[in-house]
Amino acid sequence: MFTVGSASGVGNLLWLVPVVPLAIAVVNLFIGRRLGRLAGVVASVAVGLSFVLSSVIVMDLLSRPTEERLEIQRLYEWISVGRFSGGVDLRLDVLSATMILVITGVGFLIHVYAIGYMEGDPRYGRFFSYLNLFVFFMLLLVLADNYLLLYVGWEGVGLCSYLLIGFWFEKPENATAAKKAFVTTRIGDTAMLIGLALIVSKFGTLDFDAVLGAPGDTIAKGTATAISLLLFAGAIGKSAQVPLHVWLPDAMAGPTPVSALIHAATMVTAGVYLVVRSAPLFELSGVALTVVLIVGLVTALFAATCALAQDDIKRVLAYSTISQLGFMFMAAGMRFYTGAMFMLVAHAFYKALMFLGAGSVMHGMHEETDLQRMGGLIRRMPITGWTFVIGALALAGIWPLAGFFAKDQILEIANHTGRTWIYLLGTLGALLSALYIGRLVFLAFFGAPRSDEARHAHESPPVMTVPLVILAAGAVLAGLFLSTSAEGTLARFLEPITGPVPHGEGLSTLALSVIATAIALSALAVASWIYASGRVDWLGIRERLQPLPRAAASGWYVDHAYSTLFVKPGIAAARFSAEVLDSKGVDGLVNGVGGGVRRLAASGRRIQTGFVRSYALGFFLGAVGVLVWLGTRL
């Protein structure tokens, strides 16, 4: 059944990387209840095993010369009709290698954390089944060697996201959030599907090598733009970019490990991966890259202002994720693909860390999420607190943490390629990021406790805190090991796919770093003064600034606008269609014809004598007529 691209030992095991979590997902789905607490352990081991396998296979890949770092494994022909075929083909190259390490590595830690976090839930086994299924689809998405299989993973992660956001479906708002997430992202997915159809109509295939090898030989710039923008529409939905970002804040209804894994570290970054993977198409278009850059920039700023106004700890992090993803798209839009990928990896560490930290806080405070009822938690839960601070500093961009290198270098590229406005606005985004994350940290962990729960909060068990520590270490070290400057490890590793990092003239790297650090530090200082010193009545100030903070807290009323512009008219139109057009119009016409026939029949009632024998006569005559007619043809 398996025909393998290159016969090199461990590479043959690539298919096991996604299949192990899938197998355990099936096991947990059916007998998870009987496994009890073991379900979580088994699920974690499955992802851990995937991580070990991935590491071994990637090591093997690294041991080869740069130009041979590609492994293609063809498992089977999935859809094969006429001369079109799309197979279940896995592709391991430097780009997918980076992704699978993040997915299985961070995914493993989150699974372990969830063993503790989900304890006592009546659907414990079900939860881990969905979580493993998610890992399977996510791995499929990044390992796919064609757009068709990528689309399978793409929709599959959406399914798992739906199942997990609505995991506690007894609460109607959770169920609504789940449906909203699936439907909103599917709007993008549909555009993407049309994009795939367009690719097929031009290339006759969806295989990466055929489409991305030299697209300029087959299609013109305009077609490339159309394809790129349709694909990017899918990315906008999945990665929660403006204007399809509205589902992500509501998705926080799901259990916190889900928010960490799906809605921070992995699934939402799939859009970034898609753009980087499809870079040859975007570059052929040119215009499409500009669109990516602008959408990223707008989203980064827009979501940062929303994050600043949230009182719910998870919603701050959700808007923050949207904003950070915007930065990644900015990088990709400037052809700085390694920067986008680097930020993706770094963000996976520090954002997963902060989500899990938020979960730990909720765990210690009876599911409290309101920042106004927290305060001083760092004394009650030191491990959660200090690891969270590390994550926050990384996000704010303080040297030498991961976020510093990520954001700093994206801004540097903007500056060096002469995009002054992008640089200035991006710096504004960095300032806002430091402000909102500083606000969160100081409100939650410093100052005086503002509720009984905060006064009596307790630290979480080791099964939850150990993953926090490891992720914090990752957030510290990732920057140093992987820094993205032209000589950085990740840049060199990814170069066969992403090409060299763009170069240019501008302010010196040192000057830019000093500016960025100064901005981040002063933002943090301001946040500390406002929110933790106790000398500023920030709630009073907020009241005086109304209605601005309320608008920002609501996400600038985008949800309301969509409801007014699309949802309500849509439902009204559907109602009109079903209740007036279909039942009064089309069906009314039918019944009208029926009535007309009846009236006609009434006028001809004399024929209808009611005697069966006269009907029989008519029938007989008719039949004879037909037979006579047939006879003349013989």
């Binding site: 006429g82 689309y151 169920a175 367009l198 109509s201 006759g204």
Partner: protein, 511 residues
């Protein structure tokens, strides 16, 4: 033995005779088991047919049986299968035992119910194997009667209205069909209704005549599919029919319409098919979107699924009239997949109804807490129906979209929007049924019984199998579709999207 097609066609009828002949001596349970046994035997025979079917065979039809019947008028008894009809037969023989087992809860007049079911099975299989146009017409008409009885006899509150509406709509269509068949027959030199004879006759007709005949056939089949605006009988029929009736109506009877379009319209009148392709495409796209939009706000779950059927069948017609390998094969695939997924949805709706005694979504809620497995099965089927990759619905939809888009960007793109609408109406209805707090009166409802597991498991398993390994189906469909396309495809048009790259349409600007 090479009378397999006759055997599989008439075995159910024999069973019906046995059930009725048993009279009162036959207990209800015995009638149930007898019907189930006969339909299972029929299924096994059809599996043998599948095993003997050779996808690489040259001749267009296999296992052909031919005999004179009414020699004076040229009515023959000619049967045969190709790569399209074989799946229709298997879908039929597979879903009948499932539906019969699902009808264990029917308690009124069990013998006659089971007899009607078995007669229906013979009629449906007959339409798919008949290779004589008059014989086809006889089966085509014959399936109305048992279905009429099932709806009118064992249906819901407005069953008489629905049954008559169903009957009149289809009869109106059939009138056109009969006239067209007779006309075609009258133009022939030989006295025969045989498919291959009339194929030659149709080939020699003037273009205008062929177009009129195309329209007559088209109207008859469009009512069955149903295509907008000839669809209004469907929501009523589905809503009032008993569970098995809804399953078979959606899964099989609608397919008779699309099957007829492929077997007769495309093959007999290729020029006219080309002439009307855009017109049919527009109607199909309207149906896809119109059905989905109307499904959005239905509160009666059966009506909702009925409207979703209109949308899904629009995909079939759109793909078939794209005249590309992927479009037509995708359309046939969609016929099988829709039969399984929508059949499963109606089975599940029936099970929910037997518990809650309501089909009104607003009267449900929270059912996932009390019956997790039944609701899990529902969600699984809903996603299959909504075209989630990995489950069966996706493959057909994808092929239709890709196969259509290559020849008409607008049709392909508009059809794709139904993907979003399907997600909305299915997930919204699922949410109202399964999520939220459970109602007090539903707190103690039981989850699936063993019998229901036996009913559902094979269908749900196929939703997954055909999603993961569609080549099980397409390997046999493909050659037959190729033959159809060879007749109908316009000169110079792309007939296989796989060729798009090598045709090097370089620098042709979008759109």
């Amino acid at each position: 033995m090479n009378k397999l097609l006759t055997l599989t066609t008439f075995l159910p009828l024999l069973g019906a005779v046995m059930v009725l002949a048993g009279g009162r001596a036959l207990k209800d349970d015995a009638a149930r088991w007898l019907a189930l046994g006969v339909s299972l035997a029929t299924f096994i025979v059809s599996l043998v047919i599948l095993g003997r079917f050779d996808p690489s065979a040259r001749e267009p039809f296999q296992m052909v049986e031919q005999a004179q019947w009414v020699e004076s008028i040229g009515l023959t008894y000619t049967l045969g299968v190709d790569g399209v009809s074989i799946w229709m037969i298997l879908l039929t023989t597979f879903l009948f035992p499932v539906s019969i087992l699902a009808s264990w809860t029917v308690t009124a007049d069990v013998r006659r119910f089971m007899a009607a079911m078995l007669v229906l099975e013979t009629a449906v299989i007959g339409t798919f194997v008949a290779l004589d146009l008059l014989l086809f017409f006889l089966f085509f008409e014959a399936l109305l009667v048992p279905m009429y009885l099932l709806i009118g006899g064992w249906g819901g509150r407005r069953r008489i209205y629905a049954a008559i509406k169903f009957f009149l709509f289809t009869m109106a269509g059939s009138a056109f069909l009969l006239l067209a068949i007779l006309f075609l027959y009258s133009k022939g030199g030989a006295v025969s209704f045989r498919y291959d004879v009339l194929l030659d006759v149709a080939g020699g007709l003037p273009a205008t005549t062929a177009r009129w005949l195309f329209l007559a056939f088209f109207v008859a089949f469009a009512v069955k599919v149903p295509l907008v605006p000839l669809h209004t009988w469907l929501p009523d029929a589905h809503t009032e029919a008993p569970t098995a009736g809804s399953v078979l109506l959606a899964a099989l009877l609608l397919k008779v319409g699309t099957y007829g379009l492929i077997r007769f319209n495309l093959v007999l009148f290729p020029e006219a098919s080309k002439y009307f392709a855009t017109f049919v495409g527009v109607i199909a796209v309207i149906g896809i979107i119109y059905g989905a939009v109307n499904a959005l706000i239905q509160t009666d779950i059966k009506r909702l699924v009925a409207y979703s059927s209109i949308s899904h069948l629009g995909f079939v017609v759109l793909g078939v009239f794209a005249f590309t390998q992927q479009g037509v094969t995708g359309g046939v695939l969609q016929m099988v997949n829709h039969g399984l997924a929508t059949g499963a949805l109606f089975l599940l709706v029936g099970m929910v109804y037997e518990r809650t005694h309501t089909r009104d979504l607003d009267q449900m809620g929270g059912l996932a807490s009390v019956m997790p497995w039944l609701m899990g099965a529902f969600l699984f089927t809903a996603f299959a129906s909504a075209g989630l990759p990995g489950l069966n619905g996706f493959v057909g939809e994808f092929l239709v979209i890709v196969g259509t888009f290559a020849v008409n960007h607008w049709f392909g793109a508009l059809a794709a929007t139904a993907v979003v609408l399907a997600a909305i109406y299915l997930l919204w209805s699922y949410q109202r049924m399964a999520f939220g707090p459970v109602r007090e009166e539903h707190r103690l409802l039981p989850d699936v019984s063993l019998r229901e597991v036996v009913v559902l498991a094979p269908v749900l398993a196929l939703l997954l199998v055909f999603g993961v390994a569609p080549s099980l189906l397409t390997d046999r469909i493909d050659p037959s579709v190729e033959a159809v396309i060879a007749r109908v495809a316009p000169e110079g048009q792309l007939t296989d999207v796989g060729d798009a790259g090598s045709r090097a349409i370089a620098f042709e600007e979008f759109p």
